[in-house]
């Protein structure tokens, strides 16, 4: 089961991020991790939350443009060289990463990275063949 990411379109202006976060707070949605990709006039806020479908629903109700994307959550050792090793797997198999970001929370002595691929299934297969632990939605957000 892939991890569900909520992506939100926000203009690069004061107050816009705040209003999105308020809608999520009011709906009792917990943000587990997030990242923002910014350009000069807009940004894309990418969130992993405990209730992604609900988050998308309340945002849409407030006329905020958002979408739901499957991303891959990968567990790696929290030590030097382990991210490089994972990425090396992708480059050897010519899997292009659209974007990635790190999980803020640590799981024991392991770190979690989030990856967005064009072809998520190919990426999963590659990682499984190399013995990586792909984290399921249930493990990550408890649903």
């Amino acid at each position: 089961m892939n991890v569900t990411q909520v992506s939100v379109f926000i203009e690069n202006k004061p107050g816009h991020l705040q209003s999105v976060l308020k809608i999520l707070a009011d709906a009792d949605i917990n943000i587990i991790t997030l990242t923002i990709a910014e350009t000069t006039d807009f940004g894309i806020l990418r969130l992993i939350v405990n209730k992604p479908e609900k988050a998308a629903e309340v945002l849409k109700q407030s006329h905020i443009t958002c979408s739901i994307t499957d991303v891959l959550a990968l567990e790696i050792d929290d030590k030097a060289g382990s991210l490089h090793k994972a990425i090396d797997t992708f480059s050897r198999r010519k899997l292009n990463i659209e974007y990635m970001y790190a999980f803020t929370e640590k799981r024991g002595d392991r770190a979690v990275m989030i990856f967005r691929f064009d072809n998520i299934e190919a990426a999963k297969k590659a990682l499984q063949e190399e013995g990586y632990n792909i984290i399921s939605k249930i493990d990550l957000i408890g649903v």
């Binding site: 992506s7 990709a37 350009t39 006039d41 807009f42 894309i44 006329h63 443009t65 979408s67 967005r116």
Partner: protein, 420 residues
């Protein structure tokens, strides 16, 4: 011609007065009675009809024939409030086909031609209008409708299409498509020779671009669904001005501010009166199109009055660094890019001595992507299309939905800060 027009006008005014309540009431209110219509000079006493009245009478309030005599309706898209519905009797359909066939005749089209009708079929008058006109002239008619450029190109080749009828912006789109996706497709090696372009204003610059890129002669076909649809006037081989089919449509030029009739040759708003239409008489309809009427010794031999190619509106035209831009053209570009009706706003400002145009586009769910590059490409694509289709460099800004203020459901499309 003047005699024929007078006779037909008298009939048309009487018909509208007797058979339509709205016309009856407004003639009464203006103190005009068709019996007092003694000469063409009396036209000034006939009240104008505006777009809002048409909307207020949605759907059939301006019909002057019972519905069982009406055989077809067309309708405007209704993007600016209520749609306008127009009706046709059997005879009206016949007249519609006749005037479109005459337009095609003006371009040198004959029964030997193969006409690909790439206007949208449906409520829009373009598709069916061209279709019936093309059949009337006896040409082989290909009802392909709009879009699907790949297939359009295939049929041009396989059917030996000689005439392409579509909007001028779509013609440019076809040229772009060939350039980008089918570099081996040589349009000059096909039999395509004539383009019939209308439904939106286009400039001489656009004509040159289309003609050189597609290797055809591009002609303007003009019309409004409120009057009949395409076929009100057409360019001829001279490509200078459009001959108005005056035996079916009476035209006047007025001062848009005072409503006063201007003498021949002066520029103003063109006003239409239908002379033969039964189901939907159009009496002194204010088109908002700005043009000029004149007679010249046209080399094609036609003596019909000519109108200049319409490039202006008395309402929403913008001139950006000398280029005429209509919000509708911007809308067309956005519609092509998005595939849906866009929410947008045009902001015009003057920076130093130069005009600056910014187009804000609301990012709908359909457009949105979690990847920056997809949104950046969309911006770039729209910017490129503005440059190639409208000849303007506009800054495109993606904004959140509902950012653009809507009043009574309709967004204010243009903010011109230059006037301040």
């Amino acid at each position: 011609m003047k005699e024929l027009q007078y006779e037909r006008l008298k009939w048309s005014l009487t018909h509208a007065y007797n058979n339509n309540k709205h016309y009856h009431d407004k003639f009464e209110q203006a103190g005009f009675h068709p019996d007092n219509f003694k000469s063409l000079a009396d036209m000034k006493h006939v009240p104008f009809l505006n777009k809002q009245e048409m909307r207020n009478n949605y759907p059939f309030g301006l019909f002057a024939m019972p519905l069982d005599k009406v055989v077809r309706v067309h309708s405007s898209s209704g993007t600016t409030g209520n749609a306008t519905v127009v009706g046709y009797t059997k005879n009206d359909v016949e007249v519609f086909a006749e005037v479109v066939a005459r337009c095609l005749g003006c371009y040198g089209v004959t029964e030997k031609d193969v006409i690909q009708v790439a206007y949208g079929y449906g409520l829009f008058t373009g598709g069916l209008g061209l279709h019936y006109g093309s059949e009337k002239i006896g040409a082989l008619t290909v009802p392909i409708s709009g879009g699907n450029t790949e297939r359009q190109l295939m049929l041009i080749k396989d059917f030996g299409t000689t005439v392409l009828a579509c909007t001028p912006s779509y013609a440019l789109n076809v040229a772009d498509y060939i350039e980008k996706k089918k570099p081996d497709y040589d349009i000059r090696k096909t039999k395509l020779r004539i383009g019939v372009f209308g439904a939106e204003p286009w400039s001489q610059a656009m004509r040159s671009e289309i003609e050189s890129r597609l290797g055809i002669d591009a002609y303007d076909i003009y019309g409004l669904s409120e009057v009949i649809g395409p076929g009100v006037s057409a360019e001829c081989e001279a490509k200078s001005g459009l001959h108005v089919f005056e035996d079916h449509f009476y035209v006047e030029i007025i001062d848009p501010d005072t409503g006063e009739i201007l003498p021949e040759g002066e520029q103003g708003e063109i006003v239409y009166t239908s002379l033969t239409k039964e189901a939907f008489p159009t009496i002194r309809y204010r088109s908002r199109d700005i043009t000029r009427l004149y007679h010249d010794n046209c080399k094609c031999g036609r003596t019909l009055v000519k109108m200049e190619k319409v490039t202006g509106r008395s309402d929403d035209m913008l001139i950006i660094r000398g280029v005429n831009v209509f919000p509708s053209q911007i809308e067309t570009v956005l519609m092509e890019a998005e595939g849906t009706e866009p929410h947008y706003q045009i902001i015009v400002d003057r920076k130093g001595s130069l005009d600056d145009i910014e187009v804000m586009v609301e990012v709908s769910e359909k457009l949105f992507s979690d990847e920056v590059k997809v949104l950046d490409n969309l911006k770039k694509h729209i910017t490129d299309r503005f440059r190639s289709a409208l000849g303007i460099s506009a800054k495109v800004t993606l904004v959140e939905p509902m950012t653009i203020a809507r009043s009574e459901g309709k967004a204010q499309r243009v903010i011109d800060k230059r006037k301040i």
